[in-house]
Structures are given as C-alpha cells and as structure tokens.
C-alpha cells in the first residue's frame, strides 16, 4: 500500500522532536481526521538551520512531516516557501490518492512556521 520511503520515514522518523526557542512554529490539525503536525524551525541569516517535527495520525502524515524536515534544512526560507505538496509526495515517491491530505498538512505546517517568522520580523521591523 505504501512506498518503502513512507514506511522508512514512519519506522525511522528524521528530525523528530521539538526545537528549543524556535524561530518559527507551525502547528496544524486536519479537523476531519484529526491528523496533526507541529513543526519548529531555527533560522539564521535567512536560512533554515534546523527543523524538528512532531506528528500524530496515519502513516503518511508522520512520513510527510519527517521527509519535509529533510527537504528544508539548509534551505533559504524564500526557497522553502516555494515547496508544494507535490515536492513532499515526490520525496516519498508516491502517496495513495486518499492520503494526499498528509502532504497538504505538511506544507501547511511549513507555511505556518514561515508565517510566524514573517510576522515576527514585521513586528520587530515596526519597532525600529
């Protein structure tokens, strides 16, 4: 049913956990199935230097969150912001059509974390 990449990320999640004093946090829940992803990022000079995730839900949700961290660590935030659900699916090779929402949730968690950083920058910019 699932690719070996999905199974591998479920069995051996990459970057699981939560960063202390993150630059940004994205925490999203799918209200229908209750799948949830919480993503924390460290940003230094516009680059994502570290990312960690926590997730609950079906196997592709855990796998999508896990693979997302591998896609964004080391990336400039502008480039990370351009990632789409298709990039997450491609990194997992394939998701069953009924599980595309897992990749969507991962991207929403990323957007949430990046929004959180932008908002902070705007606030700090306004103070200057």
């Amino acid at each position: 049913m699932y690719t070996k990449e999905v199974e591998d990320h479920l069995a051996n999640p990459r970057n699981a956990g939560e960063l202390i004093e993150p630059s940004g946090t994205g925490d999203v829940v799918n209200q229908v199935c209750n799948d949830r992803i919480r993503l924390t990022l460290h940003i230094v000079d516009g680059v994502i230097t570290d990312a960690k995730f926590k997730a609950s839900g079906c196997p592709p949700t855990v796998a999508a969150a896990s693979v997302l961290t591998t896609l964004i660590i080391g990336q400039e935030i502008e480039r990370a912001a351009q990632l789409s659900r298709n990039d997450v699916i491609a990194a997992l090779v394939r998701l069953p059509p009924a599980k595309i929402h897992s990749a969507v949730l991962a991207i929403e968690a990323l957007q949430g974390a990046l929004d959180c950083i932008n908002n902070r920058e705007e606030v700090s910019g306004a103070k200057k």
């Binding site: 699932y2 199974e7 479920l10 069995a11 999640p13 699981a16 994205g26 925490d27 999203v28 829940v29 799918n30 209200q31 229908v32 199935c33 209750n34 799948d35 949830r36 992803i37 919480r38 926590k54 997730a55 609950s56 839900g57 079906c58 196997p59 855990v62 059509p97 009924a98 599980k99 595309i100 929402h101 969507v104 949730l105 929403e108 949430g112």
Partner: protein, 401 residues
C-alpha cells in the same frame, strides 16, 4: 525473538491451511479428478469424498449430513440464507431483523433487499458489543420472516446470546409464526467454540473453511430439514437443488478435514488460544497506559483481542508492526482526510479516538508463546514511540484549510 520473525496475528481474516488438510486435498487435484456428478468410478470416488466431508461438517455443528449445502464460502452462505428465505417467503412477510454489527455479507444483502421492498430492523448492541435478546423479541412482528444474528463478531469476537434468541423465535413459531426463520453467521465461531444447531435453535448457519485452517473458497450453509429456500444460482441439481455448480471437490475435502480436526481438538485449541490471548492482553496492560480492550466484559471468542490505544493511529501501529514481520488489522482507515470507522466499533459507541487507535490481534491454532512475546515487545515499543512522536495535547494547533 529475532528481527526476521514472521508472526501472523490476523487469523480472523484468514488462517494457514493445516498440513493434514493440505494432504487430504492433494489426491483430488490429479488422481481422483472426477466430477462428483459423473457415473464412472472417478466420479463416484469424488462423490464419496464429498459425502465424507458432508458428514464431517455435520458432526462439527451437530446437524444431519443431508442438511449441509456446500458453497464457495461465508459470503455466499450468508447471501443464500438471507436471499433464499426472502425469495421463498416474501408472500407471507417482508420484514427481516439483524444486528448493527453483522459482517457486510449480511448487512449489504439486507440493504439490497431493502431497496426491493423489504423492511429491515438493525438491532443495536450494548457497549460491550452484545445484542439484547429482549430487543430482538420485541422487534419480531407478524410479517417477520427472518432473524439473522451472527454467532461471534469478526472484529471484537463477542459471542451473541443465540440460545436465548432461538428460544424467542421458537416461542413465536409455536404461537403461529410458521414463516419465521433464524439464521446465524458462524463464520468466526465455527471450529472455535462448540456448536449444536438444535441448542441454538437456528434454521440456517453459515461457515467457511479458511477461518479454521481449511482452504479458501469452500464453505457450507446448514439448512434445517424442511426449510423452504430460494436459490441464488440456476443450472443444475447439485446439493439437493439448493446450489447448482460442479462441486469444488478438493476444497470440500479440505473443509471436511479441517472441520474434523477442529472438532477433535476444539477444547485443546481453544484453551491454548485463550491462554495466549489473555497473556497478550495482560502484558500489554502492564506495560502500556491508556488502553482499552473492546468487547471486554462480554463472552468472547478465545482467539480475538481488539485493543484501542489512546493517542495513536491504528494504521500507524499496523505498519510499524508489519515492518517487524507482524500482521494485525485495524478498525479505522483515514481516507481523503475523513475517518472511515468500522461500523462495529461505531456501534459500541467508542469515541473517535478509541476507534482510531484500535488494533485487532487474532490468534490461530498454531500461534506460539514466542510469537506472542515478540508481538508484545514490538507493540509496546511502537505505541510508546508513536505517542512520543505526537505533539503535546495542551499546545494549540491551527485548523488546516
């Protein structure tokens, strides 16, 4: 315990074929190849083998051999029973009673009949997963032609009070409801608990070989002598005109042998499976918090354990176990962002979270202590790891768009 250990704990789905059963079937693939309807000696040997199997099945459920109709399996047996009664007795009534936790072979057949003008009452179950016989009694109306209640549930293993329901059915029949019939789907229970069709008071009983270490594709419907039953198929006079089609001789021989073995070893197998199942449940309870055994508190089959692990997704547990060589099943599948919960667990009034975290372990006659020890260790590790991976409940999350 080794990483490469293969542990099959999905015996409610299907079972391995016992070596004695395979051996009994082999001659009928190449040597004794006759069509049981043929007059020549090949045909007569096949016919004799089919009749031996008929006696073996009859013995397992304490019926007469002439009351056994061979079919392709549980789904066909359920269809033949329900549609057969509906067709033969619709002139006297068009009401059927079943339960909310039946197998889809029963539920979907009843739903199909509803669309052709039958009324169906779906009796609820208690939170322990048991039908209330009094509710069945009250649901029986003058136009009720069939009560169909499974003997044991396929997801949680709860055993239903058939004797009591059978008494109510007989009571109504004595009071004049001569067209009232009682069917049970005994697909999960046959070969695992003792069955006596007279004690149960049933007119029809479905069973299938592959749930008790026989081959797939061979099942039987018990039809009490004198029961008028319509047909699903047309084209021959096999099985006393009840089920046309050339008999699946190797399958039927395997079904018979599997029934014979199950009958001989019933109490021994059942005691062993119950011991291992209880050990599995006790060990999980000792090592994990926040878990619930579904159907606990009701009489249950000895080989089934349906557990809800709070805070985890059953499918994630399933895949983690599968990667370690352990086969189980789950009652909930998340699909297109919606949760499609099992109708059985929904009928038990479990919370969405309990349904989501449900995992069914089902043991077979060949399950070993070492396999259960391995399954316990891997399950505990997987559930703990998935719980650690989950975001803390108290932190707030934004709703996904």
């Amino acid at each position: 315990m080794t990483a490469s250990m293969k542990v099959y704990l999905d015996n409610s789905a299907t079972t391995l074929v016992a070596p004695e059963v395979i051996e009994s079937m082999l001659p009928y693939f190449s040597g004794d190849i006759g069509n049981a309807s043929s007059v020549h000696s090949f045909g007569q040997r096949a016919k004799a083998a089919v009749e031996t199997a008929r006696r073996q099945i009859a013995e397992l459920i304490k019926a007469a051999p002439s009351e056994i109709v061979f079919v392709s399996g549980g789904t066909e047996a359920d269809n033949l029973a329900i549609r057969g009664i509906a067709e033969a007795h619709s002139a006297t009534g068009r009401h059927i009673i079943t339960s909310a936790i039946e197998h889809p072979a029963v539920l979907a057949t009843c739903e199909a009949l509803e669309s052709s003008g039958f009324r169906v009452t779906y009796a609820p179950v208690s939170s322990a997963g048991v039908v209330d016989p009094q509710q069945i009694r009250e649901a029986i109306k003058d136009d009720t032609i069939l009560v169909s209640i499974m003997q044991a549930n396929n997801e949680i293993g709860t055993v239903q009070p058939l004797e009591e329901i059978g008494r109510f059915v007989r009571e109504r029949r004595r009071a004049g409801a001569s067209n009232l019939h009682f069917h049970t789907d005994a697909v999960q229970s046959a070969g695992k608990i003792p069955i006596d069709v007279d004690d149960l008071g049933v007119d029809l009983l479905s069973l299938t070989a592959h749930k008790f270490h026989g081959p797939k594709g061979a099942g039987a419907l018990y039809v009490k002598k004198g029961t008028r039953l319509g047909k699903l198929f047309y084209g021959g006079h096999h099985e006393r005109d009840r089920r046309p089609g050339t008999e699946n001789v190797p399958g039927i021989v395997g079904l018979g042998r599997a029934a014979d073995l199950a009958a001989q070893e019933l109490s021994e197998r059942s005691d062993r499976m119950r011991g291992l199942r209880n050990y599995l449940e006790d060990s999980l309870k000792q090592r994990l918090t926040d878990m619930k055994i579904n159907g606990d508190g009701a009489p249950r089959l000895p080989n089934v354990s349906n557990v809800s692990f709070a805070g985890v997704d059953g499918e994630s547990v399933l895949i983690n176990l599968d990667l370690k060589g352990i086969a189980v099943s789950t009652g909930a599948a998340c699909s297109s962002g919606s949760l499609e919960p099992s109708h059985v667990l929904k009928a038990l009034a479990l919370t969405k979270e309990e349904i989501r975290g449900s995992v069914r372990f089902s043991l077979g006659a060949f399950t070993t202590q070492a396999e259960i020890d391995y399954a316990i260790a891997v399950t505990v590790e997987a559930v703990k790891r998935l719980r650690e991976l989950a975001p803390a409940a108290e932190e707030s999350a934004r709703a996904s768009l």
